[in-house]
């Protein structure tokens, strides 16, 4: 008796294959193939389709907002294409420069002590958790500064006249966007979920500002404001910045006993 392969039985399970009738009668007669088929069918039946997170009625509009300024222009006159490519290169350069600055600032913050270090002799005895705490504080301080700058952009947008040029705010938002992404990644890695979540909300709004026309229409501006408002973004940014400042000023956790003994 010729048996059917696992692949044949997989196709049969999915209602495909040209020998369906033959397989069906074979399964009635052959215990080995029946057992294999039962195992394949049982396994595949266990795999349920994952539930996709729900997206609201406005989702299509959100997607449009995100992509509309990336759509290639239909009018592809040579000078315009050249201009677009130059702008793209320039933006990449700016993004790279901003990223480099952030890294440099972060490294500098770690290398140079921010205050004179009376306890310098302790450095050799500083434990890994203490060093991690210092680095965490530097990160949170930088994020608090970043939130303050972002708050000013958001406030400007909330108070901007209904029609007009927002290119200054856009330039500012674009600079903040690059650093915001880096800080969000750092916050995720540091386990600061709330911080990461607020930065994620902030990124969306900054992105929307950057991608709006510089001569913004009243309706577009209103939409940006509505989103900032709906996400309570300004409120979150202020509260989080304040909270991070408080954490910055809070006394450092006690040093491990072994370190304390060494310095006393």
């Amino acid at each position: 008796m010729t048996h059917y392969s696992e692949d044949d039985l997989t196709l049969y399970y999915y209602g495909e294959g040209r020998r369906r009738a033959a397989i069906e009668s074979h399964l009635d007669a052959c215990a080995a193939c029946r057992s294999l088929y039962s195992e394949i069918a049982g396994t595949l039946a266990m795999i349920a389709a994952p539930e996709a997170p729900e997206r609201g009625d406005q989702y299509g509009l959100e997607i449009w907002q995100r992509i509309r300024h990336q759509l290639p222009e239909q009018d592809a006159r040579p000078w315009r294409a050249l201009w677009r490519s130059l702008v793209a290169v320039d933006r990449l350069g700016l993004a790279a420069a901003a990223a480099l600055l952030v890294v440099a600032a972060f490294v500098a913050g770690r290398v140079w002590p921010r205050v004179p270090a009376p306890a310098a002799p302790q450095v050799a005895g500083v434990s890994a958790p203490a060093a991690a705490d210092v680095s965490q504080r530097i990160l949170l301080t930088s994020i608090a500064d970043h939130l303050d700058r972002s708050e000013r952009v958001l406030t400007d947008i909330m108070n901007a006249p209904d029609r007009g040029d927002i290119s200054t705010e856009q330039q500012w938002a674009e600079d903040l966007l690059t650093t915001s992404r880096l800080y969000r990644q750092d916050a995720v890695e540091a386990g600061e979920r709330t911080v990461a979540s607020v930065l994620d909300d902030l990124e969306r709004s900054l992105l929307e500002i950057v991608h709006s026309p510089s001569e913004v229409r009243a309706a577009d501006l209103e939409q940006i404001r509505r989103r900032i408002d709906a996400a309570a973004l300004l409120f979150k940014v202020r509260v989080l910045s304040e909270e991070l400042r408080q954490r910055e000023e809070a006394p450092a956790p006690a040093m491990p006993r072994s370190s304390t003994r060494k310095t006393s």
């Binding site: 696992e6 195992e39 396994t43 266990m46 795999i47 989702y59 449009w64 759509l71």
Partner: protein, 190 residues
């Protein structure tokens, strides 16, 4: 939007009318997201795929044949964008992926889930996710289209631009890996 209206919107979009394309984006975004989520298994990746799919669709609108169904055409773009996205991601995390493959295949056999352990269905989901994460982008795409989306091998072949045999074998390889990952739980399930 009825069929006549949809055809008119599509025609305008093909002529470069961005408002018409916006209507298409607004109409199809949610279904595109659902497919992208199933293909990638990750919300952030799915969002990226949604955006890239619409941008690609816009660039390729000139090649769309007006007799074809826009939804089907778009679904092919989403499938391919998902594969490209997962390949790019895989290239970035190649080492990590190797680890997860080992992990998926070496999950400890569950003798019997005691009361202290997570529910069986949760354990199945965990193993399924680990095993899906260990598939190649093409295997995952082919399996998703076959198993979750109910597409035939011929449709998968057309969507992913593969020969029928390649599409079939991508599904087979995926099924084999999933069976191996779920084998320890089969006895509990039956």
């Amino acid at each position: 939007m009825d069929a006549t209206e949809a055809a008119a919107v599509l025609a305008r979009a093909r002529q470069g009318d961005s408002d018409a394309f916006r209507a298409l984006v607004e109409r199809h975004s949610r279904s595109v997201f659902r497919l992208a989520f199933r293909m990638t298994g990750n919300e952030q990746d799915a969002e990226d795929v949604v955006q890239e799919s619409f941008l690609r669709a816009y660039r390729q609108l000139g090649r769309f044949e007006s007799r074809a169904n826009f939804g089907t055409w778009l679904y092919r773009i989403v499938a391919n964008c998902s594969v490209d996205h997962m390949r790019a991601k895989q290239a970035r995390h190649d080492q990590a992926r190797g680890d997860s493959l080992d992990e998926a295949m070496e999950l400890p056999a569950a003798d019997a889930p005691g009361p202290e352990r997570m529910a069986l269905s949760a354990e199945i989901q965990r193993r399924v996710q680990a095993a899906l994460g260990a598939l190649s982008p093409l295997e995952r795409a082919a399996f998703t289209l076959r198993h979750y989306e109910g597409r035939s091998i011929d449709e998968i072949s057309a969507a992913l631009g593969l020969g029928t045999s390649a599409a079939k074998h991508s599904v087979f390889r995926a099924v084999k890996k999933l069976r191996a990952a779920l084998a320890p739980l089969r006895s509990l399930q039956s």
